[in-house]
Symmetry: C2
Subunit: 406 residues, 2 copies
């Protein structure tokens, strides 16, 4: 969509915002048909400035796990805002939320709350270094752990020293981890890893359970902290932690996105062994004690725990995946669908630059289905079978259009 059809917003933004827009929400980076601006959201639907409605398969890029404006969450926020939000001390909801996180997350003995996913991943590194007195941190090549100098995927304004103590391995390649650990020697503070490989611009890859167990064993052996970056996956796959189905528990986890159904909140959870170090680091922010987002977090996690929301997300994701697979076959396209069905990615075969995939996404976007060509999508519990079927009617037309122009 160009500046012409969003009531002039893009043109105005070009004057007052660097590059017109920045960060992951720069629509021009990935779509010719989706709008840069959205006016409202309800359940799994978004409305743009022209009143066009989209079936939302990005869920605000992850946070909206229960659907936009979920009544239970909205009610909790409303009730807290009637009391107060940014006070001189924490509100009682802070303790309630920390207790709920400790109750819910298998490895967690404590919780520290923040605002951004990057706040949480950064605090995890700091805690691990404080606990071990060591410096080196291993991460996977191409993994996304945030957008500040030590981890941003865009190497602009970054100095070599910002990454002085990082070293890299290949996801699912335990030998490469051991090699990196050997390079770190007795200076290994932590290994940070995502629950599955969800790097942009490539097919997703589930974690090999042997890989996960191998990281755990290596950390046990070396005394390094195993940090699970559950920012993107957390509260969407397995409530107790995304590696809980693999039987692998991290020492520290970083959380954000879906934790409060769209309200600004992040968390670090950790084990007893790391509590003392977590209490010694200085991490804080002007809004880290704000109560309304914590009330939203309590409502979100309670809803996920007490209902079949997570099963619904999985069922919706499976229905979408099955439908897309059948459509691809029917229209004669070879595609890959990778990652968990709750966070899928569709990629056409022999489409290394994602050009054909992007054309298909543009066709879907023009028909009101909001999907991304090279970043994983997100399903939410607001996606009913009818919503999926409606989306599939449009994706079928998208395949058909591509087939016609083959």
């Amino acid at each position: 969509m160009t500046a012409d059809n969003d009531t002039g917003l893009s043109k105005r933004a070009a004057t007052v915002i660097p590059g017109g827009i920045y960060g992951h929400m720069n629509v021009l980076e990935f779509s010719d048909t989706l709008p840069q601006y959205m006016v409202s959201g309800q359940g799994c639907r978004l409305t743009d400035t022209e009143g066009k409605i989209y079936l939302d398969f990005m869920c605000g890029w992850g946070p909206v796990v229960l659907g936009h404006r979920h009544p239970r969450v909205q009610h909790a926020v409303q009730r807290q805002l009637e009391q107060g939000d940014c006070l001189n001390g924490a509100a009682p909801v802070m303790v309630e939320l920390a207790e709920l996180l400790v109750d819910t997350i298998a490895h967690a003995d404590w919780a520290l709350l923040a605002k951004n996913g990057t706040d949480a991943t950064t605090a995890c590194l700091t805690i691990a270094r404080a606990a071990t007195g060591r410096r080196k941190v291993l991460m996977a090549h191409g993994a996304y752990h945030g957008a500040v100098p030590w981890c941003t995927p865009v190497n602009v304004g970054v100095t070599v020293e910002d990454r002085a103590h990082l070293d890299y391995f290949e996801y699912n390649d335990l030998a490469s981890v051991h090699a990196a650990a050997d390079r770190a020697g007795d200076d290994l503070a932590a290994i940070i890893v995502c629950p599955f490989r969800h790097d942009v611009r490539r097919d997703q890859e589930l974690a090999d359970p042997e890989f996960a167990r191998g990281l755990r064993a290596l950390c046990d052996k070396t005394g390094a902290a195993l940090i699970l970056d559950d920012v993107r996956c957390g509260f969407r796959l397995a409530l107790a932690g995304s590696w809980e189905p693999l039987g692998v528990r991290p020492d520290l986890s970083a959380w954000s996105k879906a934790i409060a159904n769209g309200y600004a909140l992040a968390a670090v959870t950790g084990t007893e062994a790391l509590r003392e170090a977590a209490s010694r680091i200085y991490a804080t922010g002007s809004f880290w004690f704000s109560a309304a987002s914590m009330a939203a977090g309590i409502a979100t996690i309670t809803e996920l725990r007490d209902t079949d929301a997570l099963q619904n997300i999985q069922r919706a994701g499976q229905r979408l995946r099955d439908g897309l697979a059948a459509q691809a076959v029917a229209h004669g396209f070879a595609i890959t669908q990778s990652g968990p069905v709750q966070m899928p990615l569709l990629h056409f075969a022999d489409d290394d630059d994602f050009a054909l995939t992007r054309r298909w996404c543009d066709e879907a976007g023009a028909r009101g289905v909001y999907v991304h060509p090279y970043h994983n999508w997100f399903l939410g519990s607001a996606h009913s079978d009818d919503d999926i079927d409606e989306a599939l009617r449009h994706t079928d037309a998208a395949f058909e259009s591509l087939a016609r122009n083959r």
Copy 2:
């Protein structure tokens, strides 16, 4: 206040939160009489878990510039939440807010929005490095610019390399800045500085206009970016920027705290010369495009612009300062009151460790006046003359109690 009289919250928190509480809101660090938990806020008053009411002179540690639950801000948030908050694109309020910031802030040609003050200061450094291709950043000894490894005041979990390209000067000492600039040589990317010296645990110090002009001249000469860290002072002293009264315009400014009257928002503003670099860095977060806090920002800045709120804050601060000065004389205490009246600090003479000042703050806190012994206080437009006079009755009793026990 101990765990006994906050309905058990502190005891529960000790189990699930590292250290029981962390960051700047750890009340035990600075008070024996103030509660760790607050239940609600309205205007300039806070209510704790026992129903005790406090006159608030910290304003949520800065953000609450118009008073807690200001109707215009609450209404704007409410209206936006009824539409949507965390969508797949920016909402129109993002453009409106960026335009308002550019219209309001003297040096601003563009604005980039974030969540934490630290997000904004970190992005300023990254933009300056991207623009200049240089690495060195100068900052004042003891200045607070955030709570991540490059700037946290607590050197725990921090590596030497996190601060490899920082060098230090003394606030208001231009010769020390020139010496640091000489050390940086042709690698000087930026100077970051607060509008006045508001370091904790020392009297505050206004900026010498010659110092401010000297920094500007040095940056003009070297091509380094002058970064004003207006996170703590912004939107409370001078709406167009805290050095505007001095006639000194920065190249980049970091904003947060009072920008949205307590809702989580931060901003970087910059000049035309830095726009291109700002568009090249990658800075983003899951909630950086959330609309409700932007609606709050528009309501807050508009209210500050269109009413006499800032004059009211100054008048309230002056009334408090004059009253405290008279009380100290009457009770035979020598005190210093430093910093702007809108962000005051009271410090007893010959009290280098702030012990006597803390005793006075404890006496005030016990009487329901929320002040801090060694971090600047904050006034807000909700402080009426009557509120100040009520606070002064309690501070008079605090002085009297100290005099009795002298």
